[in-house]
Symmetry: D2
Subunit: 354 residues, 4 copies
């Protein structure tokens, strides 16, 4: 419980730093008998990895995952699965300058105050790179859930800075580097291109959902399914808001129209509640929205202090995403899958079946 | 970890049902030597308790808390503190009808599907009444945090259905039954009165904050302070959205203005990030917004099904809050206090001091 | 995880002090649908309760258990089960003397040093009385395991001070106040009578076993079934040693005779390993031995110090068991049942069935 | 909590199989600012590693540990520390035969029944080799405890099969391959030599202790220090018994002599209770005895069954320790250190200091 483990029954322990020799995770509690090799995991890592378009950081990481344990003759054994991802493009340069100052909006200051020591290389432990092992673990959860329950996960971009993105079709998401559900992304390209030229960054809003979720997942009072989803999502770098179903719009709703009418056959007329009632899954689509703040590492000079509490101007050179939300879609899917997986195993413990 | 415990080092285990003999909680991990008696807890329970105005449920519960253990000669001993609150106004009537149908928007259906059995009396375990033990535990955390760190907590209503509530002054909050930070609440009274007459309900949005939070609380990667706040808040009945700092507005921001500039002396120019950077407290005010959906138990008839999957019309008689958000302020304070308390103890474990 | 919870999926949180208003526990994670009322629990409490013979403390406690939550219409709902046991015979006398000195062999000194404050009334939290809620929770686990798996639990006394007790028949155990598996207990009566007259106490050794345990329970590497049994047993007051199967005798064995030969049909020729291999149940009887040290509260004066570190002579008046091992049999059964229950639920999570 | 993590605040998650590419662990919760490099860990690994004498398995593993994360510029950062140990001498041969049968006394049968799938290469996950990462993690705990509290750990062999080993001097332990506290080990050499010639194995008994333990560690009711020690020790391969202090001998003792008299200055006249009272450390030496059963992998043919439940004779070729107890001393030290470390951090959380 020292902070780097997500889940209890499907427990993912994350380790590594942005510019250390490797990053990775250990999955403890994966049910035995699941067919698994690196090719089940690699596609999601590839969707998240940097350097794939001009709109994301140019750091060039292959992000090849290696399964170190827990799999024998192509199937999981029930033993812990250690997934290792080498860091190959950690440019060795002088971090002594970076180490002395705190970037506004970044974790520099709080890591320094919390731990009394800080690994400044590429953001160290606070780097968004550490979401890669989460994505890898999520791929394992996704495969099991698909096989056992038919559950699927998908995410898309719905807002990029000032630009709201209409929802046209899920089919478009894989066709552009923005994970946008629209056919024409030229407006997004222009917007982000201009932003980069100014050395600035922007925030984003994403939608993530799960289909085919078993009914009955979630453990009120406190470990409600929506509560654990909120924790997983808010725990991702730069996330500042989480909604389930209608989210903040619910504040303005009336009970006479908000509550989703039940129909025979386990169906509902609407899904204002986003697939959760009383903290337990209804079997409808789990619908989650997430707000991401702008990247803190920008070329625009900002006011700050150094480790001696003296005022300084900070300007972050190096390779950074102008909007971290762009690559967040596969991460959000993974986080949602990890939460659903955890609660699926819990429900098996409680009832003996899903 | 079976769902009814919040926190690990300051672990609050909640028990009871709305219409059982009693509700309560056990706090395990409260530091010894804290002066504590029931009068430290009762005021927050009184702020939350029903029956105090015409705008909340008329159920008449004194909500007197009794300390069963963990306190000797007026101070905590380090042993578990069991807090018991009797249920005195659980009207015994016939629940056979309620037990056969599922209210839209309520947890009836999901409890039934999850557990295969359901206590229908007054919502059973899913009742908002179960937030009382959380409030009681939160009062203990608040007292310790105030004494050790000078931390304080407060919350207010910012939206009631369609009505946005301006922020005038914290001083107004205690002066009206809505926890609204405004001098004149006549518009809220009129709105809610009309709503009740129609047998309808509405949602709400609240703001909760902590001042004087020690810098350095939170355990990334996963147990970030904001992540645990999101979990605690989203775990409360009817909550559908959580924001830290600027929340969803951050999606539209630019890095050149969003990141809070650092000033000497541990100060910041702004607080867009709501007191958390990289999942760790900055020492600024912790600022959280919460969206609450409309009460599901309404007098307006709704379409649903019964336990035999046959279509029925459901209409909920009985005593219900037209807006559960009204009484949520002390609960949100308690939840925030419990999360800060947990992380304060964690930080002491890690560093040996706060 | 603050120390007063045993188990994760079937999590028992214990609270109360020997001379407070009540003791009890909260069981979180009990599967729904189990028929349960107080009469399922009371018999085991009665077997453990004091005052039933001249060989145990004369404190007169009815130990009536009350179910406060988690049961509706005679069956468990999946919600936390709070079990409350009132303290009725907590004689109010002056503890100021006791509070100033530390009894040798007792927890007085360590509680004082650990917490900086101590509830001295009847041993406070360190009293053996706190095993009553454990026994109550164990009764719930026993009932579920009997119904679901046909598992049964039993324990008996095998050594009382210098007297080794032969094993004659399980049938004798219920027929004498010593839980001894022998027909004639006159030697034990004489021994203990003489000991009491001298104001002294003695240790004991007990055997506890489970039959009909499902094969496959236990989670190596660390949460092995035998490891969790050892923790539960060593966690009971006064226990100083735990053995599984042949225990310490194994140290002198040879591999050519120790390893239990396997026979068709899931049977084994012998059971030197006590029903556990590699930390996982074999399906054979789980066999555990436990050593209990002599009661520390005795009438014989002993050398000690007071809270000011000054030498004092200590002599404990009041009502105490001359051998706490005598009443330990139902407690050991309960502890073993709680561990088996926890791992049965874990195995259901991992495999979907037992 | 899926079984492969020991500790909560200093949480060690173990991964790997005997013949996979690597074994290792992740330590989450190590306080920042501890000077650490591989040379702090390697000596304990070298003490445990195989192939160092004719009395242990001839498998030749360098057991070089690599620190993958959590250390920057020679000191811990508070981030998870991943320790990796390559498997270099995993002879690739045909395991199809081994995979079909169950060795008596070994975990083959129970892994098969529990997981439905088994990695048979060199014992897979059940191999004693998996204690290496535990030893590595223990070395980190030892270093921190030595620096912060002056705590030290040591262990020795006290029984080898039928041979009881007198205690002469701790100084001898490092001077012979048996970790025996005696000057002359010729009797042990002769005994073990003869045993190996017969293809047989034997059990052992060891003593492990900690000096300079802070007073006040341990969390009753359930997470007592002795309880957690018992769990850690019984969780090691082949361990069948654990004693604290006088252990099983306590069963025959009287209260008038057993209870350790207190002397001024935090001293005690004796240490029958082995440094723990009421589950909390007294500040005296923590004294633990452990019984190890004979190695199950022997050249003597044994009766068993195969995966089709047909009777077979099993005889284990390959490289095995005739007594796993010989190399257990550094492992027991590590386990004891991990438990003390965990409780030291817990006590800091509770009280703010040690």
């Amino acid at each position: 419980m020292s902070g780097n483990t997500l889940g209890n029954l499907f427990a993912v322990t994350n380790f590594g730093e942005s510019h250390g020799p490797a990053i990775g995770c250990v999955i403890d509690g994966c049910p035995p008998g699941l067919a698994l090799d690196a090719q089940d995991i690699q596609p999601d890592l590839d969707r998240r990895r940097p350097g794939t378009s001009q709109f994301v950081t140019q750091r060039n990481e292959a992000d090849r995952v290696e399964i170190l344990s827990g799999v024998y003759e192509g199937q999981t054994t029930g033993a812990p699965i250690c997934l290792l991802i080498g860091n190959t493009d950690q440019r060795s340069h002088d971090y002594s300058d970076v180490a002395q100052t705190f970037r506004p909006g970044h974790a520099d200051y709080t890591y320094w105050k919390k731990y009394g020591v800080r690994d400044p290389r590429g953001g160290g432990r606070a780097s968004a790179r550490l979401s890669a092992p989460t994505v890898a673990a999520g791929a394992v959860a996704k495969k099991w859930l698909l096989q056992q329950c038919g559950t699927t996960f998908r995410a898309c971009l719905r807002q990029l800075g000032e630009i709201a993105i209409a929802f046209e079709d899920w089919a478009h998401v894989a066709g552009n580097p923005f994970f946008a559900p629209v056919a024409d992304v030229s407006a997004l390209q222009d917007y982000l291109g201009a932003l980069r030229k100014r050395g600035d960054s922007c925030g984003a809003r994403l939608h993530v959902q799960a289909r085919g979720v078993p009914v009955g997942l979630g453990d009120p009072l406190y470990d409600r399914l929506d509560a654990d989803i909120a924790k997983a999502m808010m725990g991702l770098n730069a996330v500042k808001g989480v909604e389930i179903g209608d989210g903040f719009a619910s504040a303005t709703h009336h009970g006479s129209t908000h509550g989703d009418a039940l129909l025979p056959g386990g169906r509902f007329e609407t899904n204002h509640d986003g697939g959760v009632l009383g903290g337990i899954s209804t079997g409808q689509d789990l619908c989650v929205n997430v707000a991401v703040k702008p990247t803190s590492s920008i070329l625009v000079p900002r006011q700050s202090v150094d480790v001696h509490d003296a005022p300084v101007q900070v300007l972050t050179r190096g390779r950074h995403d102008p909007c971290v939300g762009i690559r967040a879609a596969p991460i959000l899917e993974a986080l949602l899958a990890l939460v659903v997986m955890e609660h699926a195993l819990r429900q098996r413990a409680l009832r003996g079946h899903l």
